[in-house]
Subunit: 214 residues, 2 copies
């Protein structure tokens, strides 16, 4: 009995490991060649997994991309939610979230390039980050902190501007350490006066809390 | 003699027509399938041109994309330059340019989708629009109208935000006629106070001048 449980444990660990390798292969492929360059062959070859095995883990090419977004973006979104849940100033919440997103891209460039390559029009990515951005902007509108006549448009534009800022930093060849100007511009966009945005983006950035595995 | 000239004229007209069809095929292919979906076969099949003929017109897949960008974006940039050359208020210049870019996407959705699909990281597109955006922002900084500590970052973020706004309008299913909120947000980003941005984006939009063929 114990032997069976251990054997099962080994098999499950191996399955989890194969799944992880497939997702990492998809991440590297997107990071280097863009999302349209993803094929099931390109993923299985990178992961050194038999092509037929792929379908034991994912239904389709899009399913592995969605899993990648869930594991690398949705999880980060959940950690941002945990960080900002107790905060009351919408401008602080927004600034901290933007700075953590940028810091993640800078400390893990493969992650940043996945964001850039998925781009402004990828449905799953938009569904993962869009509602969070809209929610945080709406908190600011409701409390009178932000002045935004069209929250969903502002959320989309924030996302595009942030991806472009990531590209500017990750793709640049001769740049100093990134400043927080990008967050300053985005607070201004939400209607925060320039001098105040300048102060808010310089607040100490609280660390992201760890959260339990899904 | 006259006969030869006429014959040459016909051949040149036919060549110009084939070139135009190849560029339009590239435009439609990008618009529908994204830039990574472009192959020389996909272009020649769409254009109904023999595959070998392609190389009489373009060196490579990338060359036809660059020609498309030149003809559809650089030309528009030149018309914007002609429109704004005599203007002195940087905020007006910026607002008018942004609104004409958006109006072009809305009146010619295939053009808008090409912009969205080329995305925030396409070198030629960035080289075509980036320097113009940076120049217009710099005019505002030099005249004290804009407050921008990092012009090239702000130009990149403006571009990403504008593409996202185009995607929001072209991809949306249940939207009213687009407002000028997108331009308002981008003027705020450049440091224009919200109440003033609100007025500037509502100024009558002067028509784009026609310019001679390149």
């Amino acid at each position: 009995m114990t032997q069976t449980v251990l054997a099962l444990g080994r098999r499950e660990r191996k399955q989890a490991e194969t799944r992880r390798r497939l997702i990492e292969a998809a991440r590297d492929q997107i990071s280097e060649g863009g999302v349209e360059s993803i094929t099931i062959t390109s993923i299985t070859e990178r992961a050194d997994v038999a092509q037929g095995t792929f379908y034991n883990y994912f239904e389709s090419r899009d399913a592995v991309i969605d899993a990648l977004i869930f594991e690398s973006v949705e999880r980060l979104g959940q950690r941002l939610d945990a960080l900002t849940a107790g905060m009351s100033d919408a401008a602080h919440i927004y600034s901290f979230s933007l700075r953590h997103l940028m810091n993640t891209a800078l400390s893990d460039p493969a992650w940043g390039w996945v964001m850039i390559r998925l781009g402004i029009a990828h449905e799953t990515l938009l569904q993962t980050l869009g509602p969070r951005a809209a929610r945080d902007l709406q908190i600011g509108v409701d409390s009178g902190r932000f002045s935004i006549p069209d929250v969903s448009l502002a959320a989309a534009m924030t996302f595009g501007a942030l991806l472009s800022a990531m590209h500017e930093y990750l793709g640049g060849t001769d740049r100093d350490a990134p400043s927080t100007h990008y967050a300053e511009y985005l607070l201004r966009m939400a209607g925060i006066p320039a001098h105040e945005a300048h102060e808010i983006v310089r607040l100490p950035l609280p660390a992201l809390p760890e959260i339990a595995d899904a």
